[in-house]
């Protein structure tokens, strides 16, 4: 399996209960998996653990057969090759669209960077906006920049945290379709987290339902 998560257990510093308890899942290459759950079920935490933004108490995470975390290893987020689109996008406000996208293109030479920038801008259909700053864009455009920024370094795995929650309802369906096309086109292995069943059904190959540990 391409992504393997085994026996993942996690607790936030100030809470008594485990937020994630013994979570196990395998994902095939190119698969789009949706994690569906109520708020507070810890679904975003799963993403943060896979991205390396939190450290699990127990468990193993492997991506492409490389150990990301186990009892002896912890690979920091910048070395995991995992892309992430945050719920509120976290676009750097002091950088233009172009600079935001270039930010993650570290190991490429000048020409490669230029080419890759052009590719992803075309992919999300924002070629005309590259000199804009994030606050000059609509919500839907911002979301596409965030997606382009995460896809630009060609991550092994893409994580999407509630990708539609900040958009208007009628915009959601349109963007959902776009997203599906883009993910299929690039063949990116994806995990996306949502509380909306329609989102899950529309995009995912497989749906995992996460129950709250509190109940």
């Amino acid at each position: 399996m391409y992504v393997q998560v085994k026996g993942l257990t996690f607790k936030y510093r100030n809470s008594e209960e485990d937020t994630i308890k013994d979570f196990t899942i395998n994902i095939a290459k190119g698969e789009i998996l949706s994690i569906l759950g109520e708020s507070g079920s810890g679904k975003s935490t799963v993403l943060r653990l896979i991205a390396g933004l939190e450290v699990p108490e127990k468990g193993i995470i492997k991506i492409d057969n490389k150990i990301m975390v186990d009892d002896h290893t912890f690979v920091p987020p910048e070395k995991r090759g995992v892309g992430m689109v945050f719920q509120d996008y976290a676009l750097f406000p002091h950088m233009t669209v172009e600079e935001n996208i270039r930010f993650g293109l570290l190991k490429m030479n000048r020409d490669e960077k230029e080419r890759r920038l052009g590719e992803v801008l075309k992919l999300v259909n924002l070629e005309d906006y590259k000199t804009r700053y994030p606050y000059e864009l609509s919500g839907g455009q911002q979301q596409r920049v965030a997606l382009a920024r995460a896809l630009a370094p060609q991550p092994l795995l893409l994580l999407l945290d509630e990708p539609f929650s900040n958009l208007d309802k009628d915009l959601q369906e349109k963007i959902r379709e776009e997203l599906k096309v883009i993910l299929r086109q690039t063949g990116t292995t994806t995990i996306f987290v949502t509380h909306d069943q329609d989102d899950s059904r529309a995009i995912a190959d497989r749906i995992v339902i996460l129950m709250s540990t509190a109940t």
Binding site: R13, G52, P56, F74, P77, F86, F92, G104, L159
Partner: protein, 577 residues
């Protein structure tokens, strides 16, 4: 300026609840897991811990050395002098605190509830007394009121009134209390005003609807509700009073600060100076504990409440005159009169004072303040960044340690730093020898490094608070986004964090810069031989009965402080809109 203002958010407050120990044990356990270690051990952590230890050591040194065997001198001090130190210090603290509360809260109430001529100017004008360091105010008022001063000359020559010199003698306990109150009350005023303007609109309006007069509302609603703000403000006033050396020395009053100086400089008795410092330190901790207790469980939190401004009452007629008169009198005494007097003196002396030597002095002064503030901000950035990333127990302790220096009086820090550097010199002697065979025994402790080190301990809290609030505003998401895009912590820091909190960095830098420029007691004790700053030079002139000559240095300090207060007032106004 209101150096302390950013501090009010959190002042040595730790939640020692029942779970504390258990959590600590868990934290320790977590630390020793390999995967946690990989996450939390990095250059940021190492540097933060080193800095925290460096800050802590000199202070701990003082407390440890208390148990050294007492010498004869100490027995003498204990028997004959200690009581006077304590009584004098307590009297000044008590009355300054009391009068600051009266003036500070009444003005805060008048300004936030009423509108009258010039009230919008006084809103920030009443902060200006903070631009004049109390030691400068002390000799300005002394010069103003003495036999040859402008007040008595006017009375004598124009009105033919001959006053009894006793009535206008400022060099007394009463005089010290007057100076401290008039130039430190803005701490109470600023914090209480901010609190009232943001928190109390609905309370005041309700009380109005229920038929209470404004004065009743002040007594029955405003005072009790703003207790935590008042206590916070007055404890800053008290800490400043305990820190002061200039005023009490100039007035010839023996308090802890002057006693520590005299024991160390005049008697050369470091052991007794340490003991005195330790007692003063305990006094400060006592005051902070009382502060915590008086504040109750209330914390300052503006976030949860709506930011609705109070609908102000427009005063007319006699009431407007009274409100204007009161604020104008306080403003005049606290800023206008001393500034005008200093300008007058400066005009009398500028020909004599302004020369190459003075420029050199100014350059010295600005340079050391620039360098020290720069280093301080770098350290604050490192610790704040570590705290934000890791949020482990070690990180939280490091961040608490940054605040320590601000509550400890300058004289105490100075003694701690001296002991620390002398022992450092002893340990490094072989090294000095290796580099330069003729090297003396004391190298670091006779250099400017010692003074810069002390500035950093004393003012780190101010820079740290500013930067931490900058980090809190942007949150962690940009940092995390950058990490998932392949940047490590350090690259993220330079490419994302620093750029996003640059306003906070700049504000912190300015606050610290101004405070270092005005600083007196640390500089007096720790400066290298023949090294002078604007502050020490002004103080020296004043002590040599050359009050007029002190005016220009004083005015430069006041002008720079004034500019910074104005700058922060503008920023605050912009943020409110």
């Amino acid at each position: 300026m209101g150096a302390g203002c950013p501090l009010l958010l959190d002042f040595t407050r730790t939640n020692y609840d029942g779970m504390f120990l258990r959590r600590t044990m868990k934290e320790v356990e977590r630390l020793f897991k390999v995967r946690q270690l990989r996450m939390s051990l990095n250059i940021w952590a190492v540097l933060s811990i080193v800095f925290a230890l460096l800050i802590l050591l000199p202070n701990v040194n003082i407390l440890v050395n208390v148990f050294n065997e007492a010498n004869e001198n100490w027995n003498h001090i204990k028997e004959f002098l200690l009581k006077e130190y304590i009584v004098n210090t307590m009297i000044i603290v008590l009355f300054t605190g009391l009068f600051s509360i009266i003036i500070g809260t009444s003005l805060a109430w008048i300004i936030s509830v009423f509108e009258f001529p010039f009230s919008s100017f006084f809103r920030w004008g009443l902060i200006l007394p903070l631009a004049i360091p109390p030691y400068i105010a002390a000799y300005t008022y002394t010069g103003l009121l003495n036999y040859t001063g402008v007040v008595q000359r006017f009375l004598r020559n124009s009105l033919n009134v001959h006053v009894n010199q006793k009535h206008l003698d400022l060099m007394s306990m009463e005089g010290a209390i007057f100076i401290f109150t008039m130039f430190l009350f803005p701490y109470v005023y600023t914090i209480t005003k901010a609190f009232l303007e943001r928190q109390s609109a609905s309370l005041i309006e309700n009380a109005r609807v229920l038929g209470r007069t404004p004065f009743e509302i002040f007594l029955l609603v405003i005072l009790p509700v703003s207790r935590p703000a008042i206590v916070g403000g007055v404890s800053l006033v008290i800490l400043e009073v305990l820190n002061d050396y200039g005023v009490v020395k100039y007035f010839g009053i023996t308090t802890f600060s002057t006693a520590i100086f005299r024991t160390w400089f005049a008697m050369g008795d470091l052991d007794s100076a340490i003991k005195l410092s330790a007692i003063l330190m305990l006094l400060v901790f006592g005051i902070l504990t009382i502060e915590n207790f008086l504040r109750g469980r209330k914390k300052f939190s503006y976030t949860s409440t709506k930011n609705r401004p109070i609908a102000k009452i427009n005063l007319k007629g006699i009431k407007a005159v009274i409100a204007f008169g009161y604020t104008m009198v306080v403003f005049s005494i606290g800023f206008l009169i001393p500034t005008l007097q200093l300008i007058h003196w400066a005009l009398l002396t500028y020909k004599k004072i302004l020369n190459i030597k003075f420029l050199e002095l100014m350059f010295n002064s600005l340079l050391i303040a620039l360098i020290s503030s720069g280093l301080l901000i770098v350290i604050a950035l490192i610790i704040a960044n570590y705290k934000r990333i890791s949020d482990s127990l070690v990180a939280r302790i490091s961040s608490k340690i940054t605040i320590i220096g601000y509550s400890i009086p300058g004289a105490v820090i100075a003694i701690g730093v001296i002991i620390f550097f002398i022992s450092l010199d002893r340990k490094l002697y072989w090294f000095y020898k290796a580099i330069n065979p003729d090297s003396g025994k004391l190298v670091l402790s006779t250099s400017i490094v010692m003074l810069i080190f002390a500035y950093i301990i004393r003012f780190l809290a101010i820079g740290y608070n500013s930067i931490e609030s900058g980090y809190e505003k942007i949150g962690k998401k940009f940092f995390e986004a950058s990490r998932t895009l392949g940047m490590n912590i350090t690259k993220t820091f330079f490419k994302v964090d620093v750029k996003m909190i640059k306003t906070a960095i700049l504000s912190g830098y300015i606050l610290v810069f101004v405070d270092i420029l005005k600083e007196l007691p640390l500089t007096l004790i720790l400066r290298p031989f023949n090294f002078n700053t604007l502050a020490t030079k002004a103080f020296e002139y004043a002590n040599d009965e050359m009050i007029h000559e002190a005016a220009i240095s004083s005015l430069i300090i006041i002008l720079i402080s004034f500019t910074s207060i104005y700058f922060f007032h503008k920023i605050a106004e912009m943020e409110e809109k």
